[in-house]
């Protein structure tokens, strides 16, 4: 015991203070990166090519032609059907997330052009309640799919989500059926649907519209799956292999078409639209 105490007494804590937000550590290779450099590189780690999570607005910027996006139904919001309360009420939690993110919900949708091609577009944002799907996200996907069917424009959905939103209970679960039914109507003779998966995409979102694309693309190393890795570890009581549920793992098992670098995403989508429509 005395030995530990002595060690403690000898170490002096000398912390170097770095102004917050100037440097970022890569989640994958642990490299310390200058934030401005990272931003310039579309939030891709210059060392290991890890794709950091980006906001819906950042994704919009790199995906569509400048100024072409017209958002639809931005004011759609949930009425808290369960009257759900954990530490704070769901209504308060929504409000806090709106302030924090300057978004009204976990997804935006609307019309835009991608390299000149008109599309209907949905982009999810993980920073808003973990990108979870409740009635609003579900409704936006349904309306986007219906809009695509109506106009014949390709539908592009960029997913990033922890899954169904617990706070809306059964209504969140039912969104999985609603969005899948809306996508089903595009299948036989409707327009092209491209699903773009980014880190992370899980649960009710993967098990509905995200896995139903005519074409499914994913960003490198994104975690994608049904059950979260921690739940699986607790269930099977063993450690998971390193590449488990990564985009590369899904590609190997035949569940996605391609892994596409963020820098190539716009070009790739435009090319697919050209080749198929």
């Amino acid at each position: 015991m005395a030995w530990f105490k002595q060690r403690n007494a000898l170490t002096t804590e000398r912390k170097i203070k770095i102004p917050e937000g100037l440097w970022v550590k890569c989640n994958n290779c642990k490299e310390i990166i200058y934030k401005k450099e990272l931003d310039k590189n579309l939030k891709i780690c210059p060392k290991c090519n890890y794709h950091f999570r980006i906001s819906a607005k950042e994704r919009l910027k790199l995906l569509v032609d400048d100024g072409s996006f017209i958002e639809m139904d931005p004011g759609l919001s949930s009425d808290d059907p369960l009257n759900f309360r954990d530490k704070i009420s769901y209504t308060e939690r929504l409000e806090a997330n709106r302030k924090k993110s300057s978004l009204t919900e976990a997804a935006i949708y609307g019309e835009a052009t991608i390299a000149g091609h008109p599309v209907v577009l949905v982009i999810m944002d993980f920073s808003f309640m973990g990108g979870s799907m409740g009635s609003v996200v579900g409704e936006k996907v349904v309306r986007a799919a219906e809009r695509a069917l109506e106009t014949g424009r390709p539908l592009i959905i960029a997913a990033s989500s922890g899954g169904a939103r617990m706070q809306e209970g059964i209504f969140s679960l039912m969104q999985m059926a609603r969005v899948s039914a809306a996508i089903a109507r595009l299948k036989d003779s409707g327009p092209l649907y491209i699903s773009v998966l980014s880190d992370p995409t899980f649960g009710g979102v993967t098990a509905s519209f995200a896995m139903l694309g005519d074409i499914i693309l994913a960003e490198p190393k994104s975690l994608i799956g049904f059950a979260g890795p921690r739940v699986i570890e607790q269930t099977i009581k063993q450690q998971l292999p390193g590449d488990f549920q990564r985009a590369e793992f899904l590609l190997e098992h035949g569940f996605i078409d391609r892994i596409v670098d963020r820098k190539e995403l716009k070009k790739t989508i435009a090319k697919i639209i050209e080749l198929l429509t």
């Binding site: 609003v136 039912m174 098990a207 699986i232």
Partner: protein, 325 residues
Amino acid sequence: MIKCYLDFEKPIGELELKIEELRHLSDGKDLNISGEIKKLEKKARELRTTIFSKLTPWQKTLLARHPDRPYTLDYINILAEDFIELHGDRKFSDDRAIVGGIGTIKNNPVVIIGHQKGRGTKERIRRNFGQPHSEGFRKARRLMELAEKFRRPVITFIDTPGAYPGIGAEERGQAEAIASNLMTMSKLKVPIISVVIGEGGSGGALALSVSDSLCMLEHSIYSVISPEGCAAILWKKNGDLKHEDFARAADALKLTAQDLMAYKVIDDIIPEPPGGAHRDVKQTAGNILAKILESLEELKTKPAEELVEDRYKRLKKIGSFLKER
């Protein structure tokens, strides 16, 4: 014979034991205690009714998972005597957590699919506790397509804690399997009638219940997440969660048949005998039969296109708790 009593069932159990003892005592002897037995039986009936009329959501959750609760095959054996089980997804294997096949229900030829839990340790493991892998969902889809080809209505029984979270399931595309079922069911050209008979556990339950008629047994549940899972996320106490926490989560999730009926997410509640479905499987099966026949009658004359269109409209109506800010 009831083998297991949940905590809130214990007073009933004690009374029943006493009645059993008295019966044993009077057996073959000239004691006149039949009046006493009758009185106690009446008391037990009343006790059952009182206790079961005010169950909490958490108690209902436990009841929905009751080890004596009838499972899919118990109902199939009563409802469709000529049932022929069909196996396999034609891709990888046969998942025993989902059963399916063909048979007739009161002269109506149908395809029946349901989650299947096991009774007893060995059987439970064989059925993977009613938690399907991807191949289970794909078997279900194959049978639904079979139903469509031969224009047979599909009856599904829902009773699962959820889709299995494991390595194999992920490797074989658990999410894709569920998503594809949702899509297939939403445009299947024959009637789909779903009955939640026990646990409606999240995506794994939904993957068999996109339907034209969705009903729940009186003491069954249907939820996006289990109360245990919800409590762990909300009050992360590092495995130190107690029954009170689960009870609170069960309250918050609004997962009972009565809640879902009030929200118009389901079409009807099928009554259970006093004391729950396990008290009288035949009676419960009879109640289910009545509902299935009613729905079949209503749906079987509908043209396929109208059926699919109405199913889509039904789905669209759910989750209308939206407002413009």
